[in-house]
Each structure stands twice: as structure tokens, then as C-alpha cells.
């Protein structure tokens, strides 16, 4: 054996012994090594966060626990009564002043809520109560059940596809530019819904007397004449309506689909006989990380009794922005819209000094939509085919500036729009809205 070979053998043996000794002395799984590895990472966390990361002083905690467990009445019990104000304003109800109360938690035994207010316009009380309960945690693949029952006498917008909006109140109160129409509903509604990460399905039944409202209030803070003075009356009658709704994420595609079907028939004890169907498809498509395209498609059709309170409307921020809100109505609606949102802060790109709390984003949009069939406003209307005629279509392009405050909804933005109609029509229309990018859908979260 040469000297070089002997030295190599010696070193190899030493390495083997060292490795063997190391393995024998440590946890076979290497847990100590992992703990040391994580401890080193935690040490860097300690250095960064300083006293925030310091260990907790545990002195006295054991005796405090014994005392607290022996005196449970000292603990704060959640779910106590909650009270709040209720204010609304529109030209049908005038100023509504009232209050709300709540008790409990929907995730526990359930939440009871109530509200009562005085509508100054018709000089009548409005109010009601509700109960809401959820079961199961919406986590992973676990579905969650939601149950809600409400009853009372409330005024609401005529368009059944629109909900409450604080901007609507501001418009009506500020300068009378609110253009929506209102009706009164009195009765009960019960809904149950099952919600999972990839889908949602719900069933609702309502038994309500629907009543028309007339304009009672024309004043506003800026003392301007209201843009719309009349209030489109609803057809009076008892509506017993069964409504089914489903939504799902499309597999392998960044799109959501939502469908709703509502039926009211004499067999249900209703004064009305109609079927109302609405389908929506929408999604977010990232564009190189600096923009996102949001296409949305909507189709709706009402067959049977053509009620104003069940019709489809066109105009406003959630349809065509170049038209005033609810400018057109019909029993068939089709809408296609593409919004492109630019993510970077425009003021920063322009090197304009501005507060960090005020990032401004830009957006471009193009849309086309139409309504046809029976006109709820009493116009000539059109043949109630399943698809609007070519002449009924309107299209537009435009842009907007967005400010996303981050709450109450983290993805919704205050948005100023400049919309130009394509073809014959009025010039640019400027509007203000507060909406999420996918504003036609109720997003699955």
C-alpha cells in the first residue's frame, strides 16, 4: 500500500466515523437539526421585531386562571345587544330616521336584528325584524349553510337586481340626481343557502304585498330640481315567489358563473304569474401583472306578467355607464362589458407628489347592451323575443379613475367614469360609483 493510499484510507475512515458518530448522537429524524434551523430563523425575527417578539411574562397567570374559572361571571360575554342609527333618503320616502338593534351572532345561536324608522315623506313607519344563522366553517372544502328569515314593511329599489347603496342616498340628498325607482314590500322572506368554495346554491321563498310608491319629496341640499321627479309605480298585489340561485367557479378557467330563476304563480297563491331568469358569466384575467381584464356577460328574461318590479333595466354603473341609471327597461336584457383595470398608481407614475393614502388607478371599458320586450315605463316596447333586436343595442367606450379605500369592501373602489356612447346619442356622461371589479356577480370567496 502506498503512503498516498494509506492517507486516503485514514481520512476516509475518520470521515465515516465522524458521520456515524453524528448520526448516532442525534435524533434519527433530524428533529434537533430542524429545531435549530427554525430557531435560527426565529432569532432573525427576534432581531427585527425587538420587544414585540419578547417572551411573555407568565408570572401570576396560573393563579389568574384559577380565579377566573372560579368566577366565570367576571368574563365578558359576547353577543350583547347592539344599537345603531338608520337613515335613508329618496324622493318616494323622503328622509327616513330610525334605529337598528341586533342581538347574538350568526355563527353561534343566531343573530336577531330589527329596525324601525319613520319615513317623513308618506309619514309612515317602516321596519321589521330578521333572524340569521350560519352553520359550519367556510374553510377548505367544507360547505357552510346560511339561513335567513326577515319580515316587515320596507321600501326598496324597483330593480330586483340592485341592492342598497349609500351613493344612491348621497345623490338623492345631495343634488337630487338619484334616478332609481322605489316600491314598498310588506311580508316575509325565508332563504336558505349552501356555500362552498367552488359553488353556491340557494332557495328562497317570499310572501309579500307589493305596493307602489309615489314621489313625496323633491328637495335636496343643493336645492336643485331632481333629475327624475316621477316614481315608476309597482303593480299592486301579493307576490308569492320561489327563487332558486346557483353559482360556481368554472373548472380550469378564472371565471364564475351565476344563475337565478324566480317563479311566481297562482298555484303558489300569488296574484302574479311570471318566470324570471338571469344568467351571468364573469372573470378576471391578469395582463402581465400590471393590469387585469374583467369581462362580464349578462342575460335575463322575464316571461308571463310583465311587472315593472320584475323587469330588467339598462343604464347606470352596473350596465351601460353612458346611460343614466335605469334609463331603459324591458323583459329581455343582454349585456356584455369589458373593463381593463391598470394596477399601478397613476400619480406615482406621473411623479406627482401625493399622499400615500391616495393611490389612483385607471381603467378603460367597452360595453354593449340592450333591453327589449314590454317597456315598464309604458313605452312602445318591442316584440318579446328571446334576444333583443339589432336596433335595440347600444354600445359605449370610456375610461375611469379609481380610488380603492380598502373598506368596507377590500376590492371595491370609488370610481369616476367618463363614458362615450358609440353611434347616435348624447355626448360624454360622467358618473360616480362605488363598486367591485366584478360587480354583476356575487363572488364566491
Amino acid at each position: 500500500m502506498t503512503r498516498r493510499a494509506a492517507r486516503g484510507l485514514l481520512i476516509g475512515a475518520a470521515l465515516a466515523l465522524a458521520l456515524a458518530g453524528g448520526r448516532a448522537g442525534a435524533d434519527p429524524g433530524g428533529s434537533d437539526s430542524l429545531d435549530t434551523y427554525l430557531r435560527a430563523l426565529a432569532d432573525s425575527t427576534d432581531r427585527y421585531f425587538g420587544i414585540s417578539a419578547a417572551e411573555v411574562d407568565t408570572a401570576g397567570l396560573d393563579s389568574a386562571l384559577v380565579y377566573r374559572l372560579a368566577h366565570p361571571h367576571l368574563e365578558r360575554r359576547g353577543g350583547g345587544p347592539r344599537f345603531g342609527p338608520w337613515f335613508s333618503f329618496d324622493r318616494a320616502e323622503g328622509a327616513l330616521w330610525g334605529g337598528t338593534a341586533g342581538w347574538g351572532s350568526a355563527g353561534r345561536a343566531g343573530e336577531i336584528s330589527a329596525r324601525l324608522g319613520d319615513a317623513a315623506g308618506p309619514n309612515a313607519w317602516r321596519g321589521g325584524a330578521g333572524y340569521r344563522k350560519t352553520w359550519g366553517a367556510r374553510r377548505g372544502t367544507s360547505p357552510r349553510w346560511n339561513f335567513e328569515a326577515t319580515g316587515g314593511r320596507f321600501a326598496g329599489v324597483l330593480d330586483p337586481d340592485r341592492g342598497a347603496s349609500f351613493l344612491r342616498v348621497l345623490r338623492a340628498l345631495g343634488d337630487g340626481s338619484d334616478r332609481q325607482h322605489y316600491s314598498l314590500r310588506e311580508g316575509v322572506r325565508v332563504a336558505v343557502e349552501r356555500e362552498a368554495p367552488a359553488w353556491r346554491a340557494g332557495l328562497a321563498l317570499r310572501d309579500q304585498i307589493e305596493l307602489p310608491l309615489s314621489t313625496t319629496t323633491t328637495w335636496n341640499l343643493l336645492r336643485r330640481p331632481p333629475e327624475v321627479i316621477f316614481n315608476q309605480p309597482a303593480v299592486r298585489g301579493r307576490a308569492r315567489e320561489l327563487r332558486a340561485e346557483a353559482a360556481m367557479r368554472l373548472p380550469f378557467l378564472p371565471f364564475h358563473m351565476e344563475g337565478a330563476f324566480a317563479a311566481s304563480a297562482e298555484a303558489l297563491g300569488s296574484d302574479f304569474d311570471y318566470d324570471r331568469m338571469r344568467l351571468i358569466l364573469g372573470g378576471e384575467v391578469p395582463l402581465a401583472g400590471v393590469a387585469a381584464a374583467v369581462p362580464q356577460l349578462e342575460y335575463g328574461r322575464l316571461t308571463g306578467t310583465a311587472l315593472p318590479q320584475a323587469s330588467f333595466f339598462l343604464g347606470g354603473h352596473n350596465s351601460l355607464r353612458s346611460l343614466p341609471a335605469e334609463e331603459l327597461g324591458g323583459t329581455v336584457k343582454a349585456l356584455a362589458r369589458l373593463d381593463v383595470f391598470f394596477i399601478p398608481d397613476l400619480l406615482a407614475l406621473a411623479h406627482l407628489p401625493h399622499p400615500t393614502a391616495l393611490p389612483i388607478q385607471g381603467a378603460l371599458f367597452a360595453a354593449a347592451g340592450a333591453v327589449s320586450g314590454h317597456d315598464p315605463y309604458g313605452g312602445a316596447g318591442a316584440a318579446s323575443n328571446a334576444w333583443p333586436a339589432r336596433a335595440a343595442w347600444r354600445s359605449e367606450v370610456g375610461g375611469g379613475l379609481l380610488y380603492r379605500p380598502g373598506f368596507p369592501d377590500p376590492r371595491s373602489s370609488l370610481r369616476a367614469n367618463w363614458a362615450w356612447p358609440l353611434g347616435p346619442g348624447a355626448g360624454v356622461r360622467v358618473s360616480l360609483e362605488y363598486a367591485a371589479p366584478l360587480d354583476l356577480l356575487r363572488i364566491l370567496k
Binding site: 498516498r4 492517507r7 486516503g8 442525534a26 435524533d27 429524524g29 433530524g30 428533529s31 437539526s33 430542524l34 429545531d35 434551523y37 427554525l38 430563523l41 426565529a42 425575527t45 427585527y48 421585531f49 425587538g50 420587544i51 414585540s52 417578539a53 417572551e55 411573555v56 407568565t58 401570576g60 397567570l61 389568574a64 386562571l65 377566573r68 374559572l69 366565570p72 368574563e75 365578558r76 360575554r77 351572532s105 353561534r108 374553510r139 377548505g140 372544502t141 367552488a198 367557479r249 378564472p254 378576471e284 400590471v290 393590469a291 387585469a292 374583467v294 383595470f341 394596477i343 400615500t356 393614502a357 393611490p359 380603492r404 379605500p405 380598502g406 373598506f407 377590500p410 376590492r411 371589479p437
Partner: protein
């Protein structure tokens, strides 16, 4: 003519030797080792498979817990950036009991708030601990339902003792998802459980109030065979200074003194905490 050749060589070599004086370094040339090539024929684990295993590992981790109790401490420290020394503003300590399927009770053990010139710094903080033991704050981006919302990549692999630790980076697919953070998780591939997470937001989730969240760290520790939350630390920069907390603050939650699967009696939850 021939006598000039050594002179030229001497001139050429002279600057070199003059510019590098000092010891001559030897090169080890007596030990040679040859390692034969090893053809790795085992299939490489794909990222998709790793994500699936993480989801299953996290679900298994949760399924092994039937009840737990721990001491939860929420701490608020102001002036964590700048010339002023950091000052604790508030600290609250709770003993939290959780039991499947949905029971939770939190008992306040201590609450301390810094006094200001006008008395206490603000309204007493209230903390609601959820009944779940899934620790969404750790694995929110790795739940099966989140797979289509995030984009993932393997940032690094570390060999630690007998463990292979994957560092997986994730970020939301949609640039409009401003409320969804991006970050990095450390996954121990022995259990396929997330053992550490660092999170950041590309843009402020609430621009009106928060300028930024420079750093957020979520740490887990091992208690027996179970991995559980250890610390959640977050540095927050507000857009404007707020009364009693200032503009630069740390929010931290510490989880200590775990007791797992000890069989908490139902009587602990009587009168409280059923969701």
C-alpha cells in the same frame, strides 16, 4: 546576441515578481477522490404534487387535534420605527380552550394598557379566538380551495438533518386581489406541514388607513408530534398617526403553554363559546 536572451527574460519576469511579494501558496495535490456518477432514476416530485401533499399534511395535522388549550398574548408596540424607543401600548393575555367540533372559550388572565396623559390609551382591546384548529393564518394559500387563486413556485430546498425543507413562494394570480398577500412558506417534507411563513402585501390592503405592512411572520413550533402556532408578528405603518398607537407599530400574538388532546371536559365551555 545569444547573451541577450537571459537578460530579456530577467526583465520580463522582474515586474511580476516585484508586484507579488509574500509567501508562496502550495496546492494540495496528494489527495485525489473520485465519486462515481449516480443516475437518479426516481421521479422528481412535481410542484403540483408538493402542493397536494401540503394540503393533505395540513388537513392531517388538524385532524389529529381533538382539543387544545394555550395561552394567547396580544401585544401592541408603538414607535417601532424612528428615533424614539419602542413603547408597549397594550398587552392582553388569555387562556384559550378549544374542542371539536366548534367549542371555544377564552378567559382573560391579564390586561395591561399604557396610560396616557388623559388616562388609558383607548378602549380596551377585545380578542375573539376562533373555535377552529386549522390555523388558516398559516395555510390560507395552501388550502385546496385556494389553489386557483395563487401562483406557486419552489424558491429553495434545504437539507436539515434528516429533513428536506421546501421553501415555497406564493402570490395571488389576480393583480386585483389587493387583499390577498404574497409570501414564502417553509414546509417540512417529513410531515408536509408548514413550519414557518413570511407574508407581505404588494400594495396596501387598506390604503386609506395602512401605508404598508413591511413584514409579517408566522411561526409554528412542535409540541409533541403536533405542529402548532407559535407567534404571529406584523409590522404596520399607518398613513397618519393614530391616537395612542402612533404611526409605526407592531402587532404580535404569542401562543404558549400548549396542552393538546388532554380531554378538556365539556363543563369548561358551559355558558360560553359554542359556535
Amino acid at each position: 546576441m545569444f547573451a541577450l536572451r537571459p537578460l530579456v527574460l530577467a526583465l520580463l519576469l522582474a515586474p511580476a515578481s516585484g508586484s507579488a511579494p509574500g509567501p508562496t501558496l502550495a496546492v494540495e495535490d496528494t489527495l485525489h477522490t473520485e465519486v462515481p456518477e449516480v443516475l437518479v432514476s426516481a421521479p422528481r416530485v412535481t410542484l403540483d404534487e408538493i402542493l397536494g401533499r401540503v394540503a393533505r399534511g395540513e388537513a392531517r395535522r388538524e385532524s389529529l387535534l381533538t382539543d387544545q388549550s394555550f395561552t394567547g398574548t396580544v401585544r401592541l408596540v408603538r414607535d417601532v420605527i424612528g428615533n424614539r424607543p419602542p413603547r408597549p401600548v397594550m398587552e392582553g393575555v388569555w387562556r384559550v380552550f378549544r374542542k371539536r367540533p366548534d367549542r371555544v372559550r377564552s378567559v382573560l388572565l391579564r390586561r395591561w394598557e399604557a396610560k396616557t396623559g388623559k388616562g388609558r390609551g383607548g378602549p380596551p382591546i377585545q380578542m375573539d379566538f376562533s373555535p377552529g384548529m386549522g390555523e388558516d393564518v398559516v395555510n390560507f394559500a395552501f388550502q385546496p380551495s385556494a389553489r386557483r387563486e395563487y401562483r406557486y413556485r419552489i424558491a429553495a430546498r434545504d437539507l436539515v438533518g434528516g429533513h428536506v425543507v421546501y421553501r415555497l413562494a406564493f402570490e395571488p394570480r389576480s393583480p386585483l386581489a389587493t387583499d390577498a398577500p404574497r409570501g414564502l412558506v417553509w414546509v417540512d417534507t417529513n410531515d408536509f406541514v408548514i413550519v414557518r411563513e413570511e407574508v407581505e402585501f404588494a400594495r396596501s390592503p387598506v390604503p386609506l388607513l395602512l401605508e404598508s405592512i413591511p413584514r409579517m411572520v408566522v411561526e409554528r413550533t412542535r409540541v409533541g408530534p403536533h405542529w402548532v402556532l407559535s407567534r404571529v408578528l406584523m409590522r404596520v405603518v399607518l398613513t397618519v398617526p393614530m391616537p395612542s398607537v402612533g404611526r409605526f407599530l407592531d402587532v404580535s400574538i404569542h401562543y404558549d403553554d400548549y396542552h393538546l388532546n388532554q380531554g378538556i371536559p365539556d363543563s369548561v365551555f358551559v355558558g360560553d363559546g359554542r359556535r
